[in-house]
């Protein structure tokens, strides 16, 4: 049986997105706006990194090359990463952190709901586990969109600004690459088009409670899934990969 390159690439999208997002959230450790939310953010970060580990494990099995999660996380270069651009965006302030989280939580909620019907048993297992956690994440981020959007004038303005700045990155979530198309056709991965309408409806709902206006311009930046990243990615990887690259083959 040949190696399913399309499936592997599709899995990398979500493994890498989970890893980079977990890394960005980890930056907030000790820097959260209040203690309880600092803890919330780092707990969410752990969940995402755990998810990345599960995906890398599966990829390693499919590639059949004995690579470990560390090989994938620390010894690949920028152009090999397939994460969504959205998760590279810096945490300019808490509103940006919440908006980013909200956008991907709603996406992953619907994504995993579909993936539990995959033809691949391991994808089903990863999705069942991740779905449970995504329910918590989505609740957390939705509540904060509302608290900040429907908060003070300042919090409302900051939330509005964050949503406006991040809006051009959400489209990428719903446009499948060729390799994703192939995996979708084989009923291995979730179909992104139906997820788009579900996502739009849910975001609209929460935004209306929060009093947040959506941008009207729907032009979407893309390229992350093909290894073309924002300028932020270089800095993220330098920091994340620094120690393993500086001291290769070190063990605890």
């Amino acid at each position: 049986m040949g190696i399913d390159k399309n499936l592997i690439s599709s899995l990398f999208v979500h493994a890498d997105t989970a890893l980079i997002h977990g890394q960005r959230l980890g930056e907030l450790c000790g820097h959260g706006p209040v203690l309880e939310q600092d803890i919330a953010l780092t707990n969410i970060s752990l969940d995402y990194i755990g998810r990345a580990r599960l995906y890398y494990d599966l990829i390693s099995k499919l590639e059949g090359n004995n690579k470990t999660e560390d090989d994938y996380a620390f010894h690949r270069i920028e152009s090999e990463f397939k994460n969504l651009l959205l998760v590279e965006y810096p945490n300019k302030d808490f509103a940006y952190t919440v908006a980013k989280q909200f956008f991907i939580d709603v996406f992953y909620y619907h994504f995993f709901l579909q993936c539990i019907e995959s033809k691949n048993q391991e994808i089903i297992s990863i999705s069942q586990k991740s779905l449970k956690e995504t329910v918590y994440h989505k609740k957390w981020s939705s509540e904060w969109i509302i608290r900040l959007g429907d908060g003070t004038d300042i919090s409302h303005q900051k939330m509005q600004n964050a949503v406006a700045d991040l809006w051009m990155y959400v489209g990428e979530m719903f446009v499948p690459t060729e390799f994703e198309q192939a995996a979708i056709k084989e009923n291995l991965m979730a179909d992104l088009l139906p997820i788009k309408s579900l996502w739009e409806a849910e975001v609209k709902d929460i935004f209306s409670i929060a009093g947040i206006k959506q941008a009207e311009n729907n032009w979407a930046q893309s390229g992350g899934k093909e290894g073309n990243h924002t300028e932020y990615m270089g800095y993220i990887l330098s920091e994340m990969q620094y120690i393993p690259r500086t001291y290769p083959n070190m063990i605890w």
Binding site: G22, E36, Q37, I39, A40, N43, I44, S45, L46, D47, Y48, I49, G50, R51, R53, L54, Q121, I124, S125, I126, Q128, K129, S130, K132, E133, V135, Y136, K138, K139, W140, S142, E143, I146, I206
Partner: protein, 168 residues
Amino acid sequence: MIQNSDIQAEVQSIFSLLEEVKDPEIPVLSVIDLGIVRDVIITNEDIVIHITPTYIGCPAMGVIEMDMLSLLWSIGYKNVKIETVISPAWTTDWMTESGKQKLKEYGIAAPNKNSKLVRNIFELEENIACPRCNSEHTLKISEFGSTACKALYQCQDCKEPFDYFKCH
């Protein structure tokens, strides 16, 4: 000749031994109380233990694995392997009743019986009782507590804060 009943007895004895392996964060709970040991499979000289993580990113799992291996090696078992199985997904329903009681005595509110996954915005889990004074007049301070599996609550009667082990 090894009888099936011998193997069964061996499996039971390993399950009992594993009561000695405690959750590093909540040392009153054993891995058996948590329901994370799913299976002990013995074939010839090899022992394979299936464990399942509570939360995917739980950092305690690595420590728990090492503790389990160390314990079994120290008793003389040589060929022991620990495998992580993620399906079916762990649920707090797998926590033993005695485990829940130990949690309460330790000062952590145990996951509610028959509780569904709370998913709607601003929805609260019902009737979380204070482990100190048993009052159900409690307030959620934060969804995420000292660990991913716990939420932070405060009792509105005795005013003490406490961790609640979330239903999952």
